[in-house]
């Protein structure tokens, strides 16, 4: 039998259609890849759980297909970041505080993918509560990068990226608050889509920064990402911030694909920031590909982009400090009752349950919201965010795309930044603006370093311009990227 584990969704579907591959065989192959890896010296640690019944679900999908059923993703196995709820499955956000919690309901995006025939096969590792850029802050230990096992896969959706990159899933869902899908996608040589705010329902995604959060997609091709997005997108009555913006039948052929005439902005603020020379040259190559294909690339200055990290690390922790207040040990998850009354139950449960990065963000979030500081920090950040949205809207009136590296560097070493939060935060330098402004952004594989580490470039567009982003990515591939 062929090795189907590295095939894109679109090819898997056609092989299954032709009877050359079954869903059950595919799940078996993914599981074998996972088990082989677990036995290795430095396991990748992509999954925190591969569902025991995944094979049964695949067999059932095969039976439905045999019975004549046709669905857009029937029998396609996918991996799910451990902060997206699946009914009847454990959900931990890689945190001790959710020890023992099983979700009684499914996220809307999960429901839509399952209704389209896709099969969730496991939960993937992540930075605790999606707070981190390296997939190291996890109760399950760090996830390793399949291209260099001493390096991180990027975070926070590191497990989701690795599950796909290492041939253990056809695609995966991650979550994005400041770059958590794009960064690991770029470190692992995948397409990583952060949809427009509201494009996908957040219902069932454990909230981190509610005004920034979106479920994101890790895929092997732009076409796969388009297909998955079209199945999952659209208004959900469970999420008032979801938009009535479906992506109609996004087969890749239907996407806008011409690079000629595209107006592309390259902000200077994302270069000269300690950019790795190999990343810089890969990036320049992408620019020349655009230009050769007839796009108009313009180097611009957009000073507000420099403020996005500060903005992000005020707004996201502020919302997180409130969103994580529900983890109190009262109704579900871990409870540590020292027998010293209510306050002690709260504080000991939360002290033991949360890791250091989560605690830092809760404290910083409470700081920027507390009386005496709220004006200088939180409200100021909201005002700057308003400016950012306004200026970015203006920019996308003049340009179709904003182009940058996804990260100034390729994957960094495990342990390199783990005790230096500020250095870790700077990994998100090029990505947070999209979450702050709500616009879609896509990380595209753009070659690798000499040592074989993948490099990613990022394109962002105006609100709901995902078809343009995905079509552009496919066209770049056609140009030899």
């Amino acid at each position: 039998m062929m090795d189907a584990t590295k095939l894109p969704v679109v090819e898997i579907l056609s092989l299954i259609d032709d009877g050359k591959l079954s869903s059950e065989e595919l799940v078996k192959a993914y599981r074998a890849a996972l088990e082989g890896d677990r036995a290795s010296a430095k396991p990748l640690n992509a999954y925190v759980e591969f569902f025991d019944d995944a094979g049964d679900l695949a067999r059932a999908a095969d039976a439905r297909r045999k019975a004549g059923e046709r669905l857009p993703l029937l029998g396609v196995p996918f991996a799910v970041k451990d902060n997206i709820s699946i009914a009847g499955r454990a959900l931990t956000c890689a945190s001790d505080i959710l020890e023992g919690y099983t979700s009684p309901y499914s996220a809307t995006v999960i429901e839509r993918l399952v209704a389209a025939g896709a099969i969730p096969v496991g939960r993937t590792n992540m930075d605790e509560f999606a707070m981190g850029s390296s997939c190291e802050y996890s109760r399950y230990g760090a996830t390793r990068n399949p291209f260099d096992r001493d390096r991180t896969p990027g975070g926070s959706s590191g497990g989701s990226a690795v599950a796909v990159a290492a041939g253990m899933a056809a695609f995966s869902l991650g979550s994005e608050t400041g770059g958590s899908v794009r960064l690991p996608a770029s470190f692992c040589g995948l397409y990583g889509l952060k949809p427009s705010y509201g494009r996908l329902s957040r219902y069932g995604l454990v909230a981190f920064g509610s005004s920034l959060d979106q479920i994101g997609i890790c895929a092997r091709t732009a076409g796969d990402a388009a297909l998955i997005l079209s199945v999952a997108a659209g208004r959900d009555d469970h999420d008032e911030t979801s938009a009535d913006a479906p992506v109609p039948g996004a087969r890749l052929e239907a996407l806008p694909r011409g690079l000629a005439g595209l107006r592309v902005a390259v902000p200077g603020e994302f270069s000269g920031i300690g950019t790795d020379p190999e990343v810089a040259s890969a990036f320049e190559r992408v620019i020349s590909l655009f230009e050769k294909a007839g796009a108009a690339v313009e180097r611009i200055s957009f000073p507000l982009l420099k403020s996005c990290i500060a903005l992000y690390y005020i707004i996201a922790p502020a919302e997180a400090s409130s969103n994580l207040a529900r983890f109190d040990g009262i109704r579900y998850g871990a409870r540590v009752d020292g027998g010293k009354g209510l306050f002690s139950l709260y504080s000991v449960t939360r002290d033991r349950g949360f890791g250091p990065e989560v605690k830092r963000r809760i404290v910083v979030g409470n700081f920027v919201l507390s009386s005496g500081y709220v004006d200088a920090y939180y409200k100021k950040a909201l005002a700057v965010r308003t400016l950012l949205v306004r200026e970015l809207t203006g920019l996308f009136g003049r340009f179709d795309l904003l182009l940058s590296p996804t990260s100034p560097t390729p994957a960094f070493r495990i342990g390199e930044k783990v005790d230096d939060p500020v250095a870790m935060y700077l990994s998100d330098l090029c990505t947070t603006f999209a979450n702050l402004a709500g616009v879609p952004a896509l990380s595209i594989p753009a070659g690798a370093t000499k040592s074989g580490l993948p490099i990613g470039v990022q394109i962002a567009g105006k609100l709901f311009s995902e078809p343009l982003l995905l079509g552009t990515a496919a066209a770049l591939r056609g140009e030899g990227l």
Partner: protein, 486 residues
């Protein structure tokens, strides 16, 4: 230099639980009581990943309440998070409104010792209720989340209240209006109306005026405790001022609990940080645009309010203030009386009948006026039939109880009665003639145009027949005889 004057200053925050089918931000049923923790879902239990959805009735009932209190409705409103952790608050924050409440700037008129006073209302905002902590045994507390997420309107008054009586009248006024417009049951025992009061004194000494520290007394759950707590606090603060001379500027605000059994307020030792609520805009909900057309649609549903209705009943129907009060205790009783009065020749008599007979039946049977089988038009007919002498009081009472028990209309009952009795035209004609002969003055009145005179004469005929005459036939004969006399 002694205290020349110590003026009591009181402001009220009233929480009113809104009568909606579902909770404020999820589709769980909104209802009092029941088996604990059976009306909860991922959203109101704050399970990971669950999100709120605004109940449109929360908005519309809040707007109706605000309009009834003469407020201005915001054209743009939003929700905010009020952050504090407590076992009955699953999310660790309450969805409330901070700087853009749905309604602002209204008032409520109250009557205290014969004069009317206008109490200003700063704002009315929407929020969700917490669950309930039960303290059953000494070791643990128990939490029921059925109430968690129930919709609330919080109504904040200006510090316009100057006495315990005014405070009580104000809260009673809020309760009356909210019940009248149907947005809340305002049952203090069940907690669907709760009240916090802010109390301090403005003390005048010589040229100086000093404010004592504001005490916020939380969760007063009866009118008696509202009055007692304020009266107690007035005395306590005066004594404390005399002894310690601590001002509001020096000590700020304090939270006190009311101990109903001992009749004292007790300082609640709360950490200062605990009241740093860290408000910020609720990112899970979008701001809401309220068009003027939407407000006007709701305004059109606003019924005549009880104070206005009472004034009309007194003026148009000649009711006493007391009768008007009794007949406006609920909107349905008021509407019932209004309908009866409109059809009756003597609304005062209709008022009496409803107060004594109808309300009596409602009380003994434990039903509401909406469940009462006799339509108000029949009360009008019944009362008028006594007035005109067709029925004696005791006959009317008999008919009244038969209307209730048989579900038959007044007309139907009268018709059956006559059918089974006298339909002999010559006998009736004889009674008519006797009545006309015996009452020449009334006949003269009739000739001069007093139509009621005919009704009275008809009553005399019925009386003479002992109530046995076929009323229709008797009326026809009387009519013919009178026409002949003209």
């Amino acid at each position: 230099m002694g205290i020349e004057r110590a003026e009591l200053i009181v402001g009220c925050e009233v929480h009113v639980q809104l009568l909606t089918k579902t909770k404020a931000f999820c589709a769980c049923e909104n209802r009092y009581g029941g088996i604990p923790n059976t009306r909860v879902c991922p959203t109101c239990l704050a399970l990971p990943g669950a999100l709120p959805r605004v109940n449109r009735e929360l908005l519309d009932k809040s707007i109706l309440a605000g309009l009834a209190l003469n407020c201005t409705v915001a054209s743009l409103t939003k929700f905010d998070r009020k952050n504090y952790m407590y076992p009955d608050l699953p999310k660790g924050y309450q969805i409330s409104q901070f700087d853009m409440p749905i309604c602002e700037g209204g008032w409520l008129d109250i009557d205290v010792s014969g004069t009317t006073k206008r109490i200003g209302i700063i704002r009315l905002h929407m929020e969700e209720d917490a669950g309930k902590n039960l303290h059953i045994d000494d070791r643990r507390s128990y939490v029921d989340f059925n109430r968690c997420g129930a919709p609330l309107a919080e109504i904040v008054s200006k510090p316009d209240i100057r006495s315990a009586e005014e405070a009580s009248a104000y809260v009673q006024g809020i309760r009356e209006v909210m019940r009248f417009i149907g947005v809340s049951e305002c049952n203090m025992e069940e907690g669907s109306l709760r009240c916090d009061v802010n109390v301090n004194l403005h003390v005048t000494e010589g040229v100086g005026e000093f404010a004592t520290p504001i005490a916020e007394i939380k969760n007063l759950n009866s009118f008696r405790s509202i009055r007692n707590a304020i009266a107690y606090e007035e005395r306590r603060q005066l004594e404390e001022w005399k002894g310690k001379r601590v001002t509001l500027q020096m000590a700020g605000k304090q939270t006190r609990g009311w101990d109903d059994d001992r009749g004292v307020s007790v300082l609640q030792r709360t950490k200062e940080e605990a009241s740093d609520y860290r408000y910020f805009p609720e990112p899970d909900l979008k701001p809401i645009v309220v068009t003027s057309a939407h407000v006007e649609r709701i305004r059109a549903m606003l019924p005549e309010l009880p104070r206005v209705m009472r004034a009309r009943f007194e003026k148009d129907f000649g009711l006493t203030a007391y009768d008007a009060q009794v007949l406006t205790t609920s909107s349905s009783i008021a509407a019932y009386f209004d309908a009866a009065a409109a059809k009756s020749v003597d609304p005062k008599k209709a008022a009496n009948w409803i107060q004594t007979e109808v309300l009596g039946v409602l009380n003994t049977q434990g039903i509401t006026v909406d469940e009462f089988p006799v339509p108000p038009e029949d009360i009008a007919k019944l009362v008028d039939s006594v007035q005109s002498g067709i029925n004696t009081i005791s006959m009317a009472k008999d008919i009244f109880s038969r209307m209730i028990n048989s579900n038959m209309s007044f007309d139907a009952l009268m018709a059956t009665r006559v059918q089974t009795r006298n339909a002999d035209g010559s006998a009736i004609a004889a009674w008519v003639d006797e009545v006309l002969a015996a009452n020449p003055k009334v006949v003269e009145d009739w000739k001069r145009g007093r139509k009621n005179a005919a009704l009275w004469l008809m009553g005399q005929v019925m009386k003479k027949s002992g109530g046995t005459a076929d009323a229709k036939l008797a009326n026809a004969i009387l009519e013919r005889r009178l026409q002949a006399l003209q």
